[in-house]
């Protein structure tokens, strides 16, 4: 049995978060989650309710805190890379990429052209996969159950491509400091081409099913409104921000991996509600497909290495190990001791499916990072939930959480 005094002290600490009406019994304080299917993971919400209307919704996070950042401090840069996959489990490639970009910035490593193209291609495939999961789960929140099965069917094809390339469906660790792990195998280009031809028709189906569906529109339009000013103030990024009419995309603002050479649009909506965010993401699918096609076209034209020649971060080729003693020593040193970046602090950012994903890397000149901090888009977007959900119904709250597309692994780290 729970100690009542304990409950009282907990409530006392939270007193400032609620209105006075909660203490006179006029409104009700209710717990939602952490094990609630519509919170997209282990998110706990403390709700103050007036009937069915939400007065305050206070997110309580940390249930999925794994201490990855602390663990990374105890590992070499390369070993820590494998932990980054596990943060945002729908954007594994993006997590690798941001971390690698930070290391490359710190060490001034140049990445070969072919690796850049592969990175862009993989990151965009990952974005599509992540958006497919978002679409499926978001529609479940809005009581359209069948979409999830379609979305996961399509996502499985991307997972197959990832498996083909890296041997893993999800935790790929494909992107490494200085390039990518290996060149793509035979049959890769056909597989991606097949997928790029396959998806547009499916997207048309989903849009036919949802975009003008009166039930869907009733649940989504005018719900969870946030103004552009508030969204910026709360540090929202990604489609959640672009749904409010602020044109900010890291791929455009501060291009990385040669995004400036690709032709794509940044979808923008001005409604600021659940429906606008939905429209933004649906159009983003098409833009990602467009980038994928361009990257795929470039792939045959960019023959060459996929890893930098800078032996400070890249291992020597396998063939050298049997003939050169120095290479063998170098290989051994690189994987045991690791590489040592100069002392300094950098911030690298990419556009994850959810928004600006930043990595702040502090180096003290040893083979292990002094501090790695992930600026996670879900974390920032979730903060705005309190503002977005004021005065909505409990059922709408579920729609709002779905529309900002949070991943709790990304929030709690």
């Amino acid at each position: 049995m729970t100690d009542l005094r304990e409950v009282e002290t907990t409530l006392d600490q939270l007193r400032h978060l609620f209105t006075e009406r909660a203490f006179s019994g006029e409104t009700m304080v209710l717990n939602m989650g952490p094990q609630h299917p519509s919170t997209h993971g282990v998110l706990r919400l403390i709700l103050e309710l007036d009937g069915e209307t939400v007065v305050r919704a206070i997110p309580d996070i940390g249930f999925l805190h794994t201490g990855v950042e602390k663990n990374m401090e105890a590992k070499t840069y390369l070993k820590a890379l494998a932990m980054t996959d596990r943060l945002d489990y729908l954007n594994n490639i993006g997590n690798n990429l941001t971390y690698c970009l930070a290391i490359e910035k710190l060490m001034e490593v140049n990445v070969p052209e072919r690796a850049q193209v592969l990175r862009v291609l993989m990151a965009e495939l990952q974005r599509i996969a992540s958006h497919l999961v978002w679409l499926g789960t978001h529609c479940i929140d809005l009581a359209a159950l069948s979409i999830l099965l379609y979305c996961f069917r399509d996502r499985e094809r991307i997972m197959d491509i990832f498996e083909m390339v890296s041997g893993q469906r999800m935790m790929t660790t494909y992107i490494r400091p200085g390039g990518v792990w290996r060149d793509v195998p035979a049959g890769f280009e056909e597989a991606v081409k097949d997928f790029l031809e396959y998806l547009p028709a499916k997207l048309d189906d989903y849009e036919r099913l949802l975009t003008n569906n009166p039930i869907f529109k009733m649940r989504a339009q005018g719900v969870g409104h946030i103004s552009a000013e508030d969204a910026l103030h709360w540090g929202m990024t990604g489609s959640s921000l672009r749904g409010s009419g602020v044109n900010y995309d890291v791929r455009r603002a501060m291009p990385y991996c040669g995004y400036e050479t690709y032709d794509f649009d940044v979808p923008l909506e001005t409604g600021g509600d659940v429906y606008s965010r939905y429209l933004c993401r649906m159009r983003e699918f098409r833009e990602s497909l467009k980038i994928c096609r361009q990257a795929l076209d470039r792939l045959p034209k960019t023959k060459g290495p996929v890893m930098t020649a800078d032996r400070k971060v890249a291992p020597p080729p396998r063939s050298e190990l049997s003939t050169s003693m120095e290479s063998l020593i170098h290989h051994f040193k690189l994987y045991t001791e690791g590489f040592t970046p100069p002392v300094g602090e950098v911030y690298a950012a990419t556009e994850s499916p959810r928004g600006e994903l930043g990595v702040r890397l502090v180096s003290d000149g040893t083979p292990k990072p002094q501090r790695v901090h992930y600026r996670c888009p879900s974390w920032a977007n979730l903060q705005a939930l309190t503002t977005m959900s004021e005065g909505c119904l409990v059922a709408d709250l579920v729609a709002i959480i779905g529309s900002i597309d949070i991943v709790l692994g990304d929030v709690d780290r």
């Binding site: 805190h65 930043g358 600026r375």
Partner: protein
């Protein structure tokens, strides 16, 4: 002169005694300011119509243990209109790390500061809701400090199973 250089000049002109140093590393400019003036500088960056840093991208602390000053906080404001990113840095002593909260300037600093409080034990004055955010409310210590052990689970083999099992923190009656 790009926007960041203009910003640095403006900060120096407006707060001559607050700026401790300006460094540039890998095309990123860091302005180290005195902890007591961080709110004033932040507000200036946000409100000045020429500078217009309307969005705080990131805020996080570092522990430089055993060096002194032990803690550093990095603020990364971003001016969306002109696409300029700056870094503000404050150094805090290890004995009593405290600084004024900037959550009144950029709302989203709220959670970032709670994280720095939770993980590093930095006190933020005038913060509206300074509680632990990731760790449980009754947690002792600040896990991101360098003197906080990483912790591990002892590997159990058949010969020492009971010995280790008896030390494990299972839920007790």
């Amino acid at each position: 002169m790009n926007h960041v250089e203009r910003t640095v000049a403006a900060i120096k002109a407006k707060f001559p005694e607050a700026v401790e140093s300006v460094t540039e590393f890998r095309a990123e400019t860091t302005v180290t300011v005195k902890p007591e003036s961080i709110v004033a500088v932040s507000r200036f960056l946000r409100d000045d119509p020429d500078l217009n840093y309307n969005y705080l991208a990131d805020l996080a602390g570092v522990d430089y243990y055993p060096d002194e000053p032990r803690f550093a906080l990095s603020y990364i404001p971003y001016a969306m209109a002109v696409n300029a990113r700056l870094r503000l840095k404050v150094f805090l002593s290890g004995d009593d790390p405290q600084v004024d909260s900037v959550s009144g300037v950029w709302r989203n600093a709220d959670w970032y500061e709670r994280e720095a409080f939770d993980m590093l034990g930095i006190q933020f004055n005038n913060h509206p809701d300074l509680r632990r955010i990731l760790m449980p409310a009754d947690w002792v210590g600040h896990p991101h400090r360098k003197d906080y052990p990483l912790g591990y689970e002892e590997v159990q083999f058949s010969f020492n199973w009971r010995e280790i099992d008896s030390k494990k923190p299972y839920a007790k009656e």
